[in-house]
Symmetry: C2
């Protein structure tokens, strides 16, 4: 029984969720903020049910859209089964937002004064196995001569610190903008407001997963941010997934040419 | 092939070394700075052979003394098989000295400007499996109703930043000083200079292993620092091991009473 295996109850299972593992497509979908679930041992982290079901705890709608894309693209999907408030898998352990004491305007009491042992337990149970698994999937495919395209799926709140965000879809990238550029070109004239590195970008430390898994080997990559009021129900999720599927398909085809 | 398994060559093996795994004694010996070995993929870290064999890269003599104590105490010994310069397992990932860019007066070029992917690889390959394994050993023993006493073995350089250190044995502790107190009492009048939290102490962030594995469950614990000029050869190592064995035996007996 390692720290990792003792962190969760038997019923809770482990941190990493994988769907469509045998998919043939090049795209690997990653969803770090898929879930609002807090492991039993951490109870509610001191938060109200409202905050615990809000964007503070997860990216509402992101997993649903990622699942639809997984089908459409025949893409493997890997996601984190627990809340970003326990460990934000899109942040390295040295980032204050890996186990945040505050998120937007909300204090996170369950993250106050974490001991080194508590931080280690979360790092070992949530962060390291998640990215070990992503890297394992990528390495296996590379060993088989397959291409890999890393696409992370996120959602963002329409109102942040009281300010409304006009952007509807953010196409985010780090130093490698090939896929993002192609998607932004494809989105010109679209009915949705699609912006580059908006509502935030690499300077805000949000491209950790891309930095871990795409940049070192030069894999095509993009981080997609969807305003969460646009994916509040299944119909909307299907519309956005269809939009992104077309955009990504055209972009990847244009890069292949 | 995870990040972890790909970090080392097949010949290098993995990060954690264990000796006397089936030992019946209560003490669990931990040696985080046992080795000066740098994994092949990191070459020399840009350092000269002199620096790479100095206290900068490891705690000279510590593993040898720990092995002697392992025999004398019938204690399991767990040690890190690679240099502290690759990852210092007595530091959390958020500490600047986990992957230091400078150690004493020496720049560590191989640690300059590490990417997030490089930091993750070291955290995943060296730090997490080491402490997962320590915690696993402790949990197994606790599940079997056994007592566990956590003792970490270190050495320090006699001259640091040009200043000679008078202390010969440091008995270090964090908030739980029971075993350290008993050992310091036992060392009164000894021929060696044995000091509390000297040449450094918990305020310097050196008690990470104790904080991870001993403090949460209230296990007896101590960190032993030996001036490395006193354990430069086998005869000296045997003398110091005998001294520490007696000191620890008496201290543990006095606490049991």
């Amino acid at each position: 029984m390692t720290v990792r295996s003792r962190f969760f109850t038997e019923a809770e299972g482990q941190a990493v969720g994988i769907e469509n593992a045998g998919a043939a497509g090049d795209v690997l979908l990653v969803c770090e903020h898929a879930s609002a679930t807090v492991p039993q041992r951490l109870s509610t982290l001191g938060l109200s049910p409202e905050v615990l079901s809000s964007h503070v705890a997860w990216d509402p709608g992101a997993l649903a859209v990622a699942r639809l894309l997984s089908e459409k693209l025949d893409a493997t999907l890997i996601y984190q089964r627990f809340s970003r408030l326990v460990y934000d898998c899109n942040r390295p352990p040295e980032s204050p937002s890996a186990m945040p004491v505050k998120s937007e305007v909300y204090d996170i009491p369950g993250n106050f004064d974490l001991t080194e042992a508590e931080r280690f337990a979360r790092t070992s149970a949530l962060y390291v196995p998640f990215h070990d698994r992503v890297s394992e999937i990528i390495a296996e495919r590379q060993a088989n001569g397959r291409k890999v395209v890393v696409v992370t799926i996120h959602s963002f709140t329409p109102v942040y610190h009281g300010r409304f965000r006009e952007v509807e879809i953010g196409i985010l990238h780090d130093t490698d903008s090939r896929l993002a550029d192609a998607m932004l070109t494809g989105a010109e004239g679209a009915s949705l407001t699609v912006n580059r590195n908006d509502p935030y970008g690499p300077e805000d430390g949000v491209t950790h997963t891309l930095r871990l898994h795409a940049l070192p080997d030069g894999l095509l990559n993009v981080m997609i941010e969807i305003r969460n009021d646009l994916i509040a129900d299944e119909g909307e999720q299907a519309n956005i997934a269809a939009f992104l599927h077309e955009l990504m398909g055209k972009a990847l085809a244009s890069i292949d040419e």
